[in-house]
């Protein structure tokens, strides 16, 4: 499912993002060079327009607001998971109980599910193996890690991010 959004708005959003990226990586701020930058960003937006890839999946600017709240939480979870897996690996007798589990997803869009599956993979101790309809098959390194994921905290937060605006 793809959210219906005004394509002109998305094209302008894409142009602004591209131009910010260009400004940040250029370092030469004379009129001539900047007009080259404006031209190349406009060309990219024009080509994307012709290729019909400007939609809410290709240019997910509606997620920026939600991401500001979600990403810091995700980073904190990843740090906690790293410490947990580090402890398991370094113990003389490794405390692992690998298992496959399935988790339900409550996101409405494919993009939301992709973000959820990638968040699972990014967190050490859990790897998403396949996404099928609204279920994700996950390999977890230990029982406790699997139970933590099945509580669905991450799922709820991704859905909340998706729902914003």
């Amino acid at each position: 499912m793809i959210l219906k959004k005004n394509p002109l708005q998305l094209a302008i959003g894409l142009f602004i993002l591209l131009f910010i990226l260009w400004l940040l990586s250029s370092g030469h701020y004379t009129t001539l060079i900047i007009s080259f930058g404006v031209f190349s960003c406009a060309l990219v937006v024009f080509l994307s327009w012709k290729m019909e890839i400007i939609d809410s999946e290709g240019v997910p600017i509606h997620l920026i607001g939600g991401a500001i709240r979600y990403v810091p939480w995700l980073i904190w979870q990843i740090i906690l998971a790293n410490i947990d897996v580090t402890k398991r690996v370094l113990q003389p007798k490794m405390d692992i109980t690998p298992q496959l589990i399935e988790v339900e997803t409550s996101q409405k869009t494919d993009l939301g599910r992709v973000i959820y599956a990638n968040s699972i993979t990014l967190t050490p101790g859990t790897v998403s193996i396949q996404v099928h309809e609204d279920r994700i098959l996950v390999h977890a390194i230990a029982k406790e890690v699997a139970e933590e994921l099945q509580k669905g905290e991450m799922d709820r937060r991704v859905t909340r991010m998706e729902g914003l605006s």
């Binding site: 740090i79 790293n82 897996v85 490794m94 690998p98 298992q99 589990i101 790897v127």
Partner: protein
């Protein structure tokens, strides 16, 4: 100010290196492919982040710093994709899986 930054930078670099080494130890110690992916993701996440943050404190030119942040972002976006692709390929090739717990999805293949 400079020595404080240097010390902070070295603390970050060394703790990042520690996590990279832990990832390597995990690769050697863990029993099968799937669990080794978990160890590798320690290197991908906190190991790489801390090293890049440590390097950021050594930066003299802002543009170099921005490029380091871009590397960080691309790493965050791409590393789960490669882990997922590898694990999925291994799963479909029916790579043997080390098991110790009860299995909830035996008939799912």
């Amino acid at each position: 100010m400079a020595p404080v930054l240097d010390i902070a930078s070295w603390v970050l670099l060394i703790s990042g290196s520690f996590f990279v080494i832990v990832g390597g130890i995990g690769l050697l110690r863990l029993p099968d492919f799937y669990t080794r992916v978990h160890a590798a993701s320690i290197t991908d996440t906190v190991g790489a982040w801390l090293i890049i943050l440590g390097l950021l404190l050594q930066v003299e030119h802002t543009l170099v710093g921005i490029k380091l942040i871009m590397i960080l972002l691309f790493l965050i976006l791409t590393s789960p994709l490669s882990s997922h692709a590898l694990t999925k390929a291994a799963y479909y090739r029916e790579t043997p899986m080390f098991r110790s717990g009860p299995d909830q999805t035996e008939d799912d293949r």
